[in-house]
């Protein structure tokens, strides 16, 4: 039976090795694991070595060679989840299921696992159970869920609360997820009939004119890096290649970000239209939406929308009546890896490989997906593009600040009254943001997720824009009761250690060393020298290859810069050097094994 799944998955994707991810995900979802047999069959049929298949499996969080249980529970262990009561939820799961996190129950029914932010920071604690999202978990709820699992209930029937708002309750989603759209702007607004640009305007414009309009708008990439979108398209248009691709980055892995999830739920047609416009501009025939595994519950819904678009001639051949303009979109699932949000890693992953960043140059606009010229754009960027084409680049550049034009959709979570999605013009100050969401008594705000910076009240007059506080949209708010160094900084650092691909030495080794030093300080064994070491050691992170590596020390470095007093009050005074080594603790395990009592 298992081999049937394997063979049918391989057939479904035409034995195409660039679709290895899809094949592995299909097997994982059906069999709870990918066996040695499955690996052997895949390697034979796809013409890959066993190691090629295994290294891809081992890279991704949601793929496993061990069985993960009939019901696989991934409970978010992000900062926000912890703040909202994860601990009691996790304990209840362990007690009720009878196994620890990282284990599967003896009967193979329930597997408990940690996972990084699943994009539900406004409704934590949340978990994925066999791909279904469960939000606002409490120990009461967990007890019921575990009873249901023991009774063999289908996860889709385990929801006791009412379904979420908007499209979440539509028949293709049937999800309890909430949108929490708190503030709409021109991009999120629902007064636009998707498809209008394709049907009415595109035929009158040359690709160069579209690119010119985008350049006039001065929009920059909304994923965080902020590269000018028009320029990117122009480079790709001019790059030589028979086939070109538009990749939409819906990997949204930065902890605390969830705006793409809401766009994908409420404005998917806008997004797909943006991808078509991008395709028209650069001369691409294929678009790929790279959807993070955590959002797999949206896949069926989105595919249905793509199908509708094909029926309306918004996708497919001679789109919008433009002769020879052929473009279609497929969805590529990720399998759990933060690094795949980096564009070259995302391309590698979409090709069915480990999501390791590539060396650049060449940049994806010249040599991207399958070595063809490729633009990779964020979900929000592509949605904004449609509104730019609707209202003009001039209009768009009148919003926001002079060099950060337009609006930004913020994902706001943590200690505030109204967590959710807010579309605002660039240029909003942190103080205004805190007022907007109903946040008082605030100690710190993490701007731009763990890779961004932790700032304190004296900097709350700084503004959100590319030249001051650049952000992909994640804003996490911490009030004065939070233990910043332990609950926030340590958690973020552990996140980066978990998510490092391991390719560059400083990212792989320095981040754990920095964490050890932070723990030493938290344990009261820090000395003044340690605070000098941290930034010096952090310098080394610059030689890593990708953005993850460059920013993995940021939680420690930015908190040290802005909250130095929190570190200083932990230090041991009057000591020049202290390793924090504890002999008694170090021998305790061997003494237990040999039944000896430590005696020094």
């Amino acid at each position: 039976m298992e081999n049937n799944t394997v063979h049918s998955a391989i057939r479904k994707y035409n034995q195409d090795k660039t679709r290895l991810m899809d094949i592995l995900i299909e097997i994982q979802d059906n069999e709870n694991h990918i066996s040695d047999d499955a690996v052997r069959i895949i390697s034979e049929k796809l013409g890959l070595s066993i190691v090629d298949v295994e290294q891809t499996i081992s890279f991704y969080h949601f793929l496993s060679k061990e069985s993960l249980g009939k019901y696989t529970i991934y409970l978010n262990n992000s900062v926000i989840s912890n703040m909202k009561g994860r601990q009691i939820v996790a304990e209840t799961f362990e007690n009720e299921a009878g196994c620890k996190f990282g284990e599967v129950t003896e009967d193979g029914i329930i597997g408990l696992f940690d996972t990084a932010c699943i994009g539900m920071s406004d409704q934590e604690p949340a978990a994925l159970i066999n791909g279904s999202v469960f939000i606002h978990l409490t120990s009461f709820r967990v007890k019921k869920i575990v009873r249901d699992m023991r009774a063999g209930k289908d996860v889709k029937k385990m929801h006791t609360s009412y379904l979420g708002d908007g499209q979440n309750k539509s028949e293709y989603l049937n999800s309890v997820v909430r949108n929490n759209i708190m503030r709409m702007g021109p991009v999120l607004s629902d007064d636009y009939n998707p498809g209008t640009i394709i049907m009415k305007n595109l035929a009158q414009l040359t690709p160069e004119q579209v690119i010119e309009e985008i350049k006039t708008s001065n929009i920059r990439g909304r994923g965080g890096a902020g590269f000018p979108t028009g320029l990117k398209w122009e480079f790709c248009r001019k790059a030589k290649g028979d086939k070109k691709y538009v990749l939409c980055n819906a990997d949204e892995g930065e902890p605390g970000t969830f705006k793409d999830r809401v766009i994908l739920t409420e404005r998917p047609k806008l997004l797909f239209e943006g991808m078509v416009i991008a395709g028209y501009s650069i001369g691409a025939t294929e678009g790929i939406l790279y959807l993070r595994y955590e959002y797999k519950y949206l896949k069926h819904y989105l595919e249905n929308i793509l199908e509708e678009a094909r029926e309306k001639n918004l996708l497919g051949k001679d789109i919008g009546g433009i002769k020879g303009f052929n473009f279609d979109i497929r969805i590529q699932l990720g399998a759990g890896a933060y690094i795949c949000g980096e564009e070259s890693a995302l391309i590698e992953s979409a090709e069915g490989k480990r999501g390791e960043p590539r060396d650049r140059p060449p940049f994806p606009v010249e040599k991207g997906y399958n070595d063809c010229p490729t633009v990779v754009n964020n979900v929000e960027t592509l949605c904004s593009v449609v509104k730019i084409m609707l209202n003009g680049g001039e209009w768009y550049s009148s919003l926001g600040t002079r060099e950060s034009t337009g609006t930004k959709i913020l994902s706001i979570s943590g200690d505030c009254r109204y967590p959710g999605i807010y579309e605002v013009e660039w240029g909003l100050s942190i103080n205004e943001m805190l007022d907007m969401v109903g946040a008082t008594d605030i100690q710190a705000v993490q701007v731009g997720g763990p890779s961004g910076s932790l700032i304190g009240p004296e900097e709350f007059d700084r503004i959100l824009c590319y030249s001051d506080l650049a952000t992909g949209g994640s804003l996490m708010i911490f009030n004065n009761k939070r233990y910043l160094l332990k609950d926030v900084v340590l958690n973020f650092t552990e996140f980066f250690i978990e998510e490092s691909c391991g390719s560059c030495v400083p990212c792989r080794s320095m981040t754990p060393l920095l964490k050890q030093k932070l723990e030493k300080i938290l344990n009261g064994n820090g000395v003044a020298n340690d605070l000098e070491d941290l930034p010096k050691w952090g310098e080394l992170m610059k030689i890593n290859r990708c953005g993850l590596g460059h920013t993995a020390a940021n939680p420690i470095l930015t908190s040290l810069k802005n909250f130095r007093h929190l570190y200083e009050e932990k230090l041991e005074r009057g000591k020049e050097y202290e390793t924090g080594f504890n002999l008694e603790q170090a021998v305790s395990e061997s003494c237990e094994a040999t039944k000896r009592v430590p005696d020094f």
Binding site: E576, Y577, T579, F581, L583, Q585, A586, V587, S588, E589, S590, C591, E592, A593, T594, K595, R596, P598, D599, F600
Partner: protein
């Protein structure tokens, strides 16, 4: 001026670094002219008899005795040097670090193919005379402050010679590429 005093020790190492000290060949005669050895396997002095200027440590710490010796060196030496890969990073002995020490001991004394069925009492050696194993092998600087690190497996005789003469004469150390390249 009296001769500088040197002490050396091997912790969780293989004595290779000490062999490398001896490998300075006939220069050892010059060295003896220049320095005096105190606690060291080279002259078999077991305990410190005076305060030393320089301590050379080979090997990391894998058991309680290593820790005591290392701390004793730190107390009695003005300058302490980690000599070689094991002292600096744990080296080969640290290959056990990913495996819990309990599992290591059980494999070695109870379950391993060469002991299974031959250790009827099921005892893991636990005499008081035996040092207690640490949960993992620690590089020296994770236990005490180390002033200098001489890399290599082993560091070449020339590197050791250069380092000692530099320390003693107060001159800058010569570090030609040849003495620190390892590939």
């Amino acid at each position: 001026m009296s001769k500088p005093v040197i002490a050396t020790a091997t912790l969780a190492g293989c004595f290779g670094c000490h062999m490398s000290i001896l490998d300075i060949d006939e220069k050892i005669l010059d060295l003896i002219e220049l320095v005096e050895f105190n606690k060291s396997p080279i002259d078999d002095i077991k305990n410190f008899t005076k305060k030393c200027d320089i301590g050379l440590i080979e090997g990391g710490c894998c058991n309680s005795e290593n820790v005591h010796v290392l701390k004793d060196f730190r107390k009695n030496c003005n300058t302490l040097i980690s000599l070689g890969e094991c002292a600096i990073m744990g080296g080969l002995p640290a290959c056990r670090n990913p495996i819990p020490i309990k599992e290591c001991l059980e494999e070695a004394y109870l379950n391993g193919p060469s002991v299974k069925g031959h250790n009827e009492s099921g005892i893991i050696p636990n005499d008081d005379e035996i040092p207690m194993m640490l949960d993992k092998v620690y590089p020296c600087h994770e236990i005490v402050k180390i002033d200098y690190f001489l890399p290599g497996c082993p560091p070449s005789a020339e590197l050791i010679w250069n380092a000692l003469t530099a320390l003693i004469t107060g001159n800058e150390m010569e570090l030609p590429y040849e003495v620190i390249k390892f590939d």
